[in-house]
Amino acid sequence: MMEPEEYETGDLWRTFLTLLNVAVVLLLLGLFFAMTEKTINDFLNRPQYSEEELAESSRKRATARAVERQDNWDLVENGIHVKTGLKNDENLQLIIGACTSCHSAKLITQNRATRSGWSQMIDWMQETQGLPDLGEQEPKILDYLAKHYAPEEVGRRANLDMAEIEWYILGLEDME
């Protein structure tokens, strides 16, 4: 006779636990809704942008990213220091310090010379432009310049740079 009683007690206990579970789930759901209501409403009531506005904001983000990239003094991509356009190696900071306080790094990246040619440019800047003595930095600076910005042999006149040409169809009205 004990068993039915135990069953009854077990049933009650089970019902109670089930109710408790349901209550806890409801409570959690309620809490979750309370926490996310604003987000959900914001999402449902979000402003509708036109394609132009979306494109504009995407452009702005791209520009901001580009500016951020440009302002990042540590960023190096494909061996190029993005901020200055200079080739990256262990002497890069020496170059930035010695050269770019007076002139653009573009003056380095667009020029090509042998070690002695670069040395003559440094002499000229020291003689006429107020560049101070570079001391023991000078050989390291010359190593860097001669390694990364050496001349190429192009003869008396180079070919047109085929890689640089952007081919396009020229629209002409008259077919003669």
């Binding site: 667009q110 169809i169 077919m175």
Partner: protein, 373 residues
Amino acid sequence: MLGLENSVISKYPGKSDQMTLLNDRPINMETPAHLLNDDLTANDFFFVRNNGLAPKNIDIKTWTLKITGESAKQTKEYSLDDLKARFEHVSYQLTLECGGNGRKEFNPPAKGNQWSTGAVGCAKWTGVRLKDVLNEVGLKSSAVYLGYYGADTHLSGDSKKDPISRGVPIAKAMEEESLVAWSMNDQDLPLLNGYPLRLVFGGYPASCSGKWLEEIVIRNKVHDGQKMKGSSYRTPCSPVPPGAKVEDKDMCIIEDMPVKSLITYPRTGATITLGQKLPIAGHAWTSAREISKVEYSIDFGMNWKPCDLGPSANRYSWQNFSSKISFPEPGYYEVWARATDVDQNIQPILLPGWNPKGYLNNACHRIAVKIEK
């Protein structure tokens, strides 16, 4: 007020963002060839060659031009209003070309801004004749050279250093077309081209045409300002082999710029169909009285055919040329243009004489063209 109406990017006031920037400190920018197609170069497409930093906070009410020097009979100062009131106003179409235009092609490479073909332009300049001003001040018989000083500042920030102070022989200064100009294409000079006042000497390296002009000195010897010495704007007095080291004493100041031309239409890379005729157009210029002939070749100089050549508005103006080209078969071609002036100077096909700083490259301009079936 600063002539900024065509300004596209505020960082480079008055200049198009289609310019090719070679250097941003100091600012140096050139014009892609196809953007030089107009008869006169628009202010926002005119190249910029700065040696220092352009002046700030320019006040045209207080701006003065001082004429002085050991060979001037007196020292005299003119406000902009004085200049405009006292002397006849004249306009000329004058071509300005940087002495280093084309430097990029020299081998061994020459140091400096690596100009390709676009450090040239031709504008209508308005101002007064320099000789009228000089005659009012009076020159001593000892006068041989004129030097200028501008309001631009040295890159180092050192106010005692001039970024550039060049000039011309007195005979050049006294030419009809030598101007003290305040206007370019009927607008104020762009800031980067010398606002509010500059010199303009056609036919000479553009570095002689001082910008932000504040002072002219009449010298009894060749002017010895910044960039008059060493290898600056000088070439070997006698020809040297490529890569030679040349002593300063063996270098001579560049005066006349050589005969040259530029194909400004179409842009390089044009592709057309066999049977179509390719129209080409461009400009040719010289320090001689005028251009007498422009020819084109599509076979690397084996055959040359004449182009139609327009008149010269005045000495030192560039002249337009044009033609229509037939191609014999499909394939890759280069169109080369070659100008000849009345003194029988002809543009070389290869690079002219090597010099340490890579000046005076007047080799033929080339564009690439593809003909398809």
